[in-house]
Symmetry: D2
Subunit: 473 residues, 4 copies
């Protein structure tokens, strides 16, 4: 809830056969993807090759007023982006989509993921005279595509060629003067789906919940390694890079980040979380009177655990529905307040009860301790904490904002140490094996490096986060 792992980005694209209010559709799509990034957002509209855009820091509904949407106007293609800053400072220059002009005209790129070789590529382009305005990977990708566009006859072939240089996680939506292109890296670290809106428009989104919001129909996922091209000729696909490596969807996408109403690789995210609850019960049964979840991310697994165990499901916390960016947040002291401001324990549910408390992860442990304390104060007799993910022990190089090892509680102490630290009576983390069982059940293979340390490609020795940063305000 607070202090947890962050997804970094959501992308959206729309191609309409006719000029339409694609900006509003993109706005609504980003609105549904807001959980993937709350720091900044942007929309670029293409009206017969003229690109209009607006980007700023803030939530979608703050950045895009009716007037602002009106200003960027109508068109037949649009791309949008929501962003939680990972690589690159939280600056205006880094807000996506990137809009650049290269030899063949304007190009807009929205990126979700993280390249592991961004620094090398950046250095390569700089050494040939390239200049960079931002510190995000989209600009590196722009250079890679532009480089190939000089020798390839089409933008999609330039993208195909550029993919040979790009290593890491990237789900891209690219807009050229006449085309909308969706790209997913061969590992398929980040999700990306194709949908259809009415008879005249196709849409691309990080998650299928964006389709539901605008009334679009889900068609299929963009495959790992696939390039999907949408233009006046309809939808085409380039699959040169498909099947080259074993797919490895980020475990967090499937089991934690995605909205429960999204469907990834044909499988319901909500169901995966119910399953996680079931497996938690299998692994750590305990006598108890009630099962409660930490809102909102722990509720599904709690329900699953309740169903598997037969122990009644209860409402343990009320969450303040108006939680915004209170300024009672930044400092360490304020954080104490911030849990209490956002969550209140329901004494009627837990008083004098043996409680199973389900959360989705434990990162630093500080928030968990406060939450457990709320339940304890509310009268719980025993508190059995169940966590629907294994302990985090390794950095992520593919776009998930996991804290540095010094801050990860699981890098500093063993299970019992953590239990004592957070004040639980018993503690259980879901095993890596069971995480993978859930994935297998859905026909997926996952990247679980953050738990296991098994990266699917060579990664840098350390995270180069912001290393060449200029401060941007």
């Amino acid at each position: 809830m607070v202090n947890s792992i962050h997804e970094e980005c959501g992308v959206f694209g729309i191609y309409s056969d006719v000029t339409a209010d694609v900006a509003v559709q993109t706005y609504l799509g980003l609105y549904a993807l807001q959980h993937r990034g709350q720091e900044a957002c942007g929309i670029v509209v293409n009206d017969k090759g003229v690109f209009s855009y607006h980007k700023d820091e803030g939530l979608v509904h703050d950045v895009f007023t009716r007037e602002q949407l009106h200003k960027i106007g109508h068109g037949n293609i649009a791309v949008g982006h929501v962003r939680y800053s990972t690589t690159g400072a939280a600056s205006r220059a880094n807000i996506q989509p990137m809009v650049v002009r290269h030899m063949k005209g304007p190009l807009a790129i929205a990126h979700n993921g993280n390249l592991v070789n961004a620094s090398e590529l950046r250095h390569e382009y700089e050494s040939r005279g390239g200049i960079f305005h931002s510190t995000n990977d989209s600009e590196v990708i722009s250079y890679a595509i532009t480089e190939m566009r000089l020798v390839m006859p089409s933008i999609e072939e330039a993208v195909e060629k550029a993919m040979e240089k790009l290593r890491g996680a990237y789900s891209l939506v690219i807009m050229s003067p006449k085309k909308l292109i969706a790209v997913r890296d061969p590992n398929g670290y980040r999700p990306l789906s194709l949908g259809k809106l009415g008879e005249q428009a196709f849409v691309i989104a990080s998650e299928t919940c964006a389709f539901d919001t605008i009334g679009a129909k889900f068609i299929r996922d963009v495959e790992p390694g696939e390039i999907v091209i949408i233009d006046e000729g309809g939808v085409r696909s380039i699959k040169t890079h498909v099947g080259k490596v074993k797919p490895s969807l980020c475990v967090f996408e499937y089991v934690y980040f995605a909205r429960p109403d999204s469907v990834i690789a044909g499988s319901s995210v909500h169901k995966a979380r119910l399953k996680a609850g079931e497996y938690l019960w299998e692994e750590y049964p305990v006598d108890a009177d009630v099962v409660i979840g930490v809102p909102d991310s722990g509720l599904d697994a709690a329900l699953g655990l309740s169903r598997a165990s037969g122990i009644p499901y209860g409402v343990g916390f009320i969450k303040n529905r108006y939680v915004g960016r209170t300024f009672i947040q930044p400092t360490q002291t304020d954080r104490t307040d911030s849990v209490r401001i956002k969550l209140n324990a329901l004494s009627g549910t837990v008083k004098d009860k043996r409680v199973i408390l389900v959360d989705d992860s434990i990162v630093r442990g500080t928030t968990s301790r406060r939450i457990i304390n709320l339940i304890r104060e509310a009268g719980a007799k025993e508190i059995h904490v169940r966590v629907s993910s294994p302990p985090f022990k390794n950095p992520c190089f593919f776009g998930t904002d996991i804290d540095s090892r010094e801050n990860l509680i699981a890098c500093k102490m063993d299970l019992n140490g953590i239990r004592a630290q957070i004040g639980a009576d018993t503690l259980g983390f879901l095993s890596i094996e069971n995480v993978n069982r859930i994935a297998e059940g859905a026909g997926l293979t996952l990247c679980d490096a953050c738990f296991s340390g098994n990266y699917n490609m060579s990664v840098p020795d350390e995270l180069p986060k912001d290393k060449f940063e200029y401060k941007l305000t």
Copy 2:
């Protein structure tokens, strides 16, 4: 969720023995009461008799920046208010707390409720030379208190005397240069509670959840008809008006408006809602596969119904957590979108299932129809709608914003008509008898006039809403 009954106000007050950051405590208290009013808010701080304040339209965390709170500064008494406009236009002049100066110095008044004789009183004071800046009842109450203060030796005695003139619902927090005073009308239509923060401060709030947020302890409710005075002498009480009439807490406060984590008259709001679900099952049993609730207000009763029936509880909808004031709201067309933007059905939960869908109320029926349609599209085989309140048929004169009769679906058609209109397979409303059984179980008597038409006092023939309004932008 949308298009439903609105509570109009929340009030908060704090008295500290020493100068402190009472503005921040009030800010946090209002934050917890935000569900009671989202249109506007205000905080007044009393620093040795000097009143500083800030009020504006917007949510608490938008109106009060860190800088703004810093500006109104420290003090030892403060009052705050959140407002959903009922009587009076949504204007700056109507934002509370009212801050006025009368013969004995400054006075700040925060009011929750609605007077039935406001028009008569207003006319009375105007005919004696009084002038009004706003159209809200607080200003009328200010005049009533001021009038009595001319002849009474203390502010609390003036309040006691003024209560003889005030008819209707009023839970007040009043701040004079040296005192904090809490008042509840003899019927006790609106809740009001007393708490203690640390060793040095007392707090007053519409709901106890505000105490939890700031770490204060609940002491007791202010009784219907009671005046509680807090000053350097501690806490005192005037009970002249207590027990004169049978209390009649607004049914909506207890069963619907209040945050589930609040405790009213010693009884848990969450439990009352679970109970409503149980009674719904008793009244309308049906064969089904899953019970789901409309977030957030229908979830508790759905859980209660599931427990009583043994039919599994499921997550039927995902609510967009970032729902703010999208501009995709005002027009009728936009409303269609607005349900889809805010809610998405979880197909995995309802597909091919016989579903019991629980909501807290049906007002116009339009939102219900859209929600049912979402579930239908997601594949539900049967949809059995259960509503945890009786049908609305009568206007409220005591501060609840119920639509005019022309808009109330229950005034226009019978049960089967409503069922057909919203597209449900079966439909059941909780009976008035069972609502009162819940109240009795908690030792409460309720005002159920909106269902039954039995008002506890004479009321005007029609609602005089905004009749003397000047438009305020």
Copy 3:
């Protein structure tokens, strides 16, 4: 220029026979009167008895966006106000026009001036049960009018009667549901003029420059003591209070505050300032090479002095045209910068020259010292300062914001002391006699109490500025 005497307010009103965009006309009128008050402004529009308004802190073009003007809409009567805070804190509650509702409907009042018996009247109304929301005189005046309206058959007769109670300076524009009323106190301290816009509208403004801006024709001044009523019957006048006392226009209005393009009592303000320059030369002739003025208020008198003396007029300073509310202002240190930021000396004009420097007033002396220093640094050989007003020695009780005596340099030292303090070679102030000669030439009698100490009515012992203030943020 900085640190000088402030006018406190400007008022504007319009009555149109037909519904029109009276808000935009008022906006433009206030824009022309902006020099009379830059802290806050407001516009109230009357559409068939329904009053719409918007008021806020800031300049006219900041407070009133196109959208905001659109919101308050059309009507056939409107009043507006610009404000520089004098009595009452610079708070939202004090922003005018005051909009209140009394027995006979809504009333809007815009006031320029200051009552000397405001405290007594306020006490009187409070002792009868009146309550006050603001600390400004307009609310007191509202009570006085309302009190009389209870017994008088029309609003204009109520105003006529109320004038018997009001002592001090007041130029008012009052809007009732059907009438626009202009009132000027019997002394006529503050200006107020009547104009005609096209064939269908009459306008009222503090200065005639507002008429020119909207293309209206000046008709005549509202006479001291006169009440002008504009309604569907046309323009009428009540002159009961006219001629009761000798008029005494504020010397500052005529000689200093008003825009040079305004005409007061039939006489050009620009010409009066040229005349002041001539008399300054008469009083203090000196050998010099160039005459320069401090922009913008000293330029006219400098030109007059140049013409009278035959010494060439030169441009001594360039003023930064984009001077807004730089934050480089509030502190004492910052003030040093602020003169340099706003003014730059033209070395080519003053280098090696004997310079006559004309300014309109010296208040604290600090700004004068800095300005003289700029000229000195730019190479002036001699600097002869001529001030087109006598030295300030007495407080103003009629609406001009003169510093307290402790801050007035002329209360602390004699002429030679001031000269030394500001660093001038010679110094001359215009004599009171010559100020009055200018007025006589225009057929005017002035209040010159700030120079002479001769008040035209009994005044309080000290300025009660903000004595009952509650801090308003």
Copy 4:
């Protein structure tokens, strides 16, 4: 005043030996240069190689709040820019200084002027894989410098080399991690000066008035073709490109754009304008009673004409000092109002008089007609218009925003036609010969192509203004 020729940019730079509040100095410098560009502005601070910046649309004092300046913090080098959009849309992406990262680290570039070969260079870099974020020349210049930096040992040598490719007008301030570099094109189209602030800092500015504002001393102009390098070794110069072509300062800079208190090439701008007035009298003597100027740009020449002719100088107009960005501007209709809102004629000065009216230029003629009409309405008997510049007949390719030929009144009709069109009794434009006499008197040679059509270098057939523009909101 309105509808006139626009300067497009002002630049500022500061190098301090020690870490200091260089952001505030830059803020004040830009404040003094605000007349050179009001659309947007930016400041970049260099703190030990880390670049912090803020850029946005708006005036300097709106964009840079105290908090915003605080955020970008301290450092020892800073550059700033004010912008009036010429090439490139008025978009955020085009706001300068450009901040980019190239092979050797970050680089900030602030540019005043216009390249005539920007399109070719842009094409050249694009064809090698370069990508562009903006449409302004600064990004082209960044590429040119970066390209050379790959082969040259220092940034200044890269700049020296890059100048061989750049054709057109450019006054640059460049900031590298350790250096501040000022560059002026060999023709010296745009001014650029070097100053010293205290003992520890050097400053660069478009005009010397920026030095005066911050208390810096003017040292000398940067010479046409010169590169000035400021670093820890002090001030150095590269003069390879100096003296290669005959300097040709933009005639507008000297005679019209620059603030009168600026000194260009050692000569006072104010004096040049006085001189223009003298020559106007020489060329077009006429019997008249008063000489008035159009504020603010016509006042100096009017004073010069008055002195030369002996005809009294008068104040003909009062300008509203609070003229901001009223929304009463954009449409054609509104423009009519806008002159009246901003200017008011002083009837006392012109009534029944033969008036010589001096303005600095006539572009479309519409504003002139309205201004003349104001004077006519105010009672002037005869109006003799004198314009202190020759008629515009040719586009500018060097950074001045002259309207397209279709809009230039001098391209459409002869002198008598213009006279009749604007409603003057007589009309005289300053001759090109006299413009050049003024320049010669100051030891300058000017570019007068906008009058004469004699460009000093080959120019494109037509202005490529925004031809590859993507709309940026």
